[in-house]
Symmetry: C2
C-alpha cells in the first residue's frame, strides 16, 4: 500500500478489490462499492470512467502490488517459486483477487496466469528440477494454488473453522505444503491410476 491511501479514490479501489474478491464482478454493483467506500456512485464514474475501468484499475494495482511483494521476498534472498504458502493478509487478499479475476474473465488476470507459469517453469529449470513435462506441471501447479485461494472459504467450512481466519489459512497452507512435500499415499492406487492413464493415452 502506497502513501496517502485514504483518498476517496483509494477507498473506492480498496472497496472494489474487497467486494470483487468476495462476490465476483457480476454480483457486485457500483452502488455496493460506493456504499462500502462511503461515497456516491457518481464519484466512481468520475474517477474510473466505468465499471470496467474500475476493474482494470484494480487489476493493475493488485498485480503491481504482487510484483512488489515478490521483489521484496527476492530481496530477502528467499527464492519463492509461487507455490510456497504466505501468511501476509494483504498478499493473501491479492492472490485471491487474482484467482477470482481469472474466473471472471479478466484478460489481465489471464496474462498474469501465463506469467506465473513462465516463472515457475523457469524456476524448475534454474533449480535443476527434472520433470517429464515442466510446463505442464507448472501450469497444473498454478491452477492448484489458484484453487486453494478461490475455494478457501469452502476449505475453512469443511474444517470447521471460520472462513478468513488465521487458523483456517494456516491449516490449509500446512496441508498444501505437506502435499507438495510428500507423495500422496502408497504407490498402489496411484500406480493403478497411472496405468489407466497410460492405457488411455495409447488408445487415443
Amino acid at each position: 500500500m502506497s502513501t496517502e491511501d485514504f483518498t476517496a479514490r483509494a477507498r473506492i479501489r480498496e472497496a472494489a478489490i474487497k467486494l470483487f474478491t468476495e462476490r465476483g464482478m457480476e454480483k457486485t454493483s457500483i452502488l455496493d462499492i460506493a456504499k462500502e467506500a462511503g461515497v456516491s456512485g457518481g464519484l466512481i464514474r468520475h474517477h474510473f470512467g466505468s465499471k470496467d475501468g474500475l476493474r482494470e484499475a484494480c487489476d493493475a494495482y493488485v498485480f503491481d502490488e504482487l510484483v512488489k511483494f515478490k521483489e521484496e521476498v527476492l530481496a530477502k534472498g528467499a527464492a519463492n517459486p509461487g507455490f510456497v504458502p504466505t501468511f501476509d493478509a494483504r498478499q493473501l487478499l491479492y492472490r485471491r483477487y487474482l484467482g477470482r479475476a481469472m474466473i471472471d474473465g479478466s484478460e489481465a488476470a489471464a496474462a498474469q496466469f501465463v506469467e506465473i507459469v513462465d516463472e515457475t517453469e523457469r524456476y524448475f529449470r534454474e533449480q535443476g528440477i527434472d520433470l517429464p513435462d515442466p510446463r505442464g506441471v507448472a501450469a497444473a501447479l498454478a491452477a492448484m494454488t489458484g484453487g486453494l485461494m478461490i475455494l478457501q472459504d469452502h476449505v475453512a467450512r469443511a474444517l470447521g473453522e471460520e472462513p478468513g481466519t488465521n487458523e483456517a489459512m494456516l491449516r490449509m497452507s500446512a496441508a498444501a505444503g505437506h502435499l507438495f512435500m510428500n507423495p500422496l499415499a502408497t504407490t498402489e492406487v496411484l500406480e493403478k491410476a497411472r496405468e489407466a492413464l497410460a492405457a488411455y493415452q495409447r488408445k487415443e
Copy 2:
C-alpha cells in the same frame, strides 16, 4: 445420461449446465439458455419455476450423475478417492460444473464439497495413509482438484493447447498426477518454507 433425454426439459437442463459451467450463473441469462436449447424463455419458467429453480435442478442432476459415476467406478473394483484424474468428457463437465457452482455460491455445491472431503478423509483412514492432519489434507486436495477443473482453460492456454481438447486435459491430468505421485523439488526450498511456516506458527 438417462433415457428419453431429448425432451425440451432435458435440453434446457443440458443447455443450462453447459452455460452455467462456461460463464457462471450471473453471466448467463434465461434467454441465453432458451436460445441454446431452442425453446422460448417462458418454457423454462414453466418447467423450473424460476432461474434459481433451474439452478437447483441442475445441481441435483449433476450431483446425482456424479454419484452414479462413482458407483460405476467402485463396481469395477477401482477405489477412486476423487483426486485421480478421469477422462470421461461428461464426468469432466460435471466436475467442472461442481467447481463453478461452488464459486457461484450454490449451497448444494458447498454441501458437496464437504462430502468430498469426508469421503477423502475416510479413504485415507481405510488405506492406512498416515497424515499429520488428514482432514486438512483432504480439504486442500479437494480445493486443488477444484482449481484444476475451474481453471482448466487457463491451463490449456498457458500450454498452447486449445481449451477443452483432449490433449489439454490429458497433459493437465498427467501433470497433476505427477505432482501427487512425487514430492516437488529437492528438499532445500521446501525445507525453508517449512521453517518459515513453523516460525509463524510459533509466533501466533
